[in-house]
């Protein structure tokens, strides 16, 4: 029996997606359903896994530091930034609806800008909270200048407007955002400066070895099969997921 069970506390799966839309309360029914279905398929006892969503970086980290936080669902950017500090061990890679299991990030700047001369620029991104991800994963092929400022935003449209008006700003877009660029009335003022290699979109990981290996294994198997089980597709689609696959992580920087 693991420590969480001995203490009678409910193990928790923490969903954290900084920069993405949604409030904690609104997402709760969806994450509850996901936890319930996954646990049933893993052979864990009903009610043994709670789920909670926090859309903020600080709130998510605080929740993950609680001893009852045994699992987490996070974007790959969050994983790169915090996997060492939070001792995250990946169980499965998410297959996200309309995106897939991997995505490329795109750096966009004004016409005339160059990825090789970004000194004095500000880089804005929904992943701006994860500078390690930006420097060592998404844009690892570039030598970014030391004075490049990195900012996080949930207002990506405002950032793109700043680019279009000629400010020294570049924006790092995820795949969904870059696919929609052409729909902007000022798209002609924007230029693609660089693109990342394919990177995982989101992951489920064990936090700080808080799930015993056998239970982690049964949960991992359940995640891989979830899309083919009764109730699985509904639980997944409510979170805009198609399923989970074995993790295929790029070499850690």
């Amino acid at each position: 029996m693991d420590m969480i069970s001995l203490l009678g506390a409910v193990a928790t799966l923490v969903f954290c997606a900084p920069g993405y839309p949604g409030a904690a309360g609104d997402a709760q029914p969806f994450v509850d359903q996901f936890a319930k279905t996954t646990v049933a398929n893993a052979g864990w006892s009903p009610g043994s896994l709670a789920a909670i969503y926090d859309p903020t970086e600080s709130g998510g980290i605080a929740k993950l530091k609680n001893p009852d936080a045994v699992l987490t669902f996070v974007p790959y950017a969050f994983y790169v930034q915090y996997s060492a500090a939070l001792h995250l061990t990946v169980l499965a890679q998410a297959d996200v609806a309309n995106v897939g299991t991997e995505e490329r990030w795109t750096l966009v700047g004004k016409q005339g800008a160059s990825a090789q001369s970004l000194s004095g620029y500000t880089l804005i991104s929904t992943a701006g909270y994860a500078p390690d991800f930006i420097k060592h994963a998404a844009l690892a092929a570039l030598s970014l200048p030391g004075d490049l400022k990195i900012e996080s935003t949930g207002q990506i449209l405002s950032a793109l407007r700043r680019v279009s008006t000629g400010e020294n700003v570049v924006v790092l877009l995820d795949q969904t955002q870059s696919a929609a660029l052409a729909s902007l009335p000022f798209a002609a003022q924007l230029k693609t400066l660089a693109q990342s290699p394919p990177l995982p979109v989101a992951l489920i990981a064990v936090v700080d070895n808080r799930v015993p290996q056998a239970r982690a294994k049964s949960l991992q198997g359940a995640l891989y099969k979830l899309s083919g089980t009764s109730g699985g597709p509904d639980s997944l689609s409510a979170l805009h997921l198609k399923g989970f696959v074995p993790p295929k992580l790029p070499a850690q920087p």
Partner: protein, 216 residues
């Protein structure tokens, strides 16, 4: 990841839209545009206080049908356009799976109302438009646009500066655009104005302002 929790947000978004949209449409005879607008406002108020999803769905359907009747009678009447927007808001809340498309139609209706009579319902078209723009998921997922929301909130305050919900909307828009100081100033101002108001909504306005003042 972008769409993951976007739809859930809309349920919250539209609650507040109704709260500020439901004022007093002009009195009129039965089935006139004014009367239909009043009935939609009643649906919105009931929906705001209703926790049963099925009842909210029925209220949204009723409001939408009345909005269509109103538009049929007076296609360019500011009240019909405005309450068409309100009815679409109810529909978006009742049917989250199609909410993003409905919200886009809601913004179009409100824009039409604003073009016809920007002062309608204490600058309601720009106020409600501001709330939708600042609370809806942003590009590319949804129609949310914090900068445009701030511009709409400023227009509402410029038109009707003494109406507390307009100042509350401005405060929220400033907060969303990163101006914490401006947001606090306007929440304070809205609370002061609401305290001196004799409106039946006074307590709700004070509560909203105080909640805003507590936010970091």
């Amino acid at each position: 990841m972008s769409r993951t929790w976007g739809l859930g947000l809309l349920a919250v978004l539209l609650t507040a839209c109704q709260g500020t949209a439901v004022k007093s449409p002009p009195p009129a005879t039965a089935q006139s545009p004014g009367e239909l607008a009043r009935l939609i406002a009643e649906d919105a108020k009931k929906s705001d206080q209703e926790s049963d999803a099925k009842v909210r769905e029925a209220l949204a359907a009723d409001a939408l049908s009345k909005a269509q009747a109103c538009i049929g009678l007076a296609p360019v009447d500011a009240g019909c356009l405005y309450y068409d927007g309100v009815a679409l808001g109810l529909d978006a809340r009742a049917h989250p799976s199609r909410a993003l498309e409905t919200l886009k139609a809601m913004l179009v209706a409100l824009q039409g109302a604003e073009a016809k009579d920007p002062a309608y319902d204490q600058a309601g078209p720009s106020r409600v438009r501001a709330l939708v723009l600042i609370r809806a998921p942003g590009w590319p997922v949804g129609p949310g646009d914090a900068e445009s929301g701030l511009a709409a909130a400023k227009r509402a305050v410029m038109l009707k500066p003494d109406y507390p919900p307009n100042v509350l909307a401005l405060a929220e828009a400033l907060a969303k655009n990163g101006d914490a100081h401006g947001a606090q100033e306007n929440y304070q101002r809205a609370r002061d104005m609401a305290t001196q108001s004799s409106s039946a909504d006074r307590d709700d306005w004070i509560k909203q302002a105080e909640q805003g003042l507590k936010r970091p």
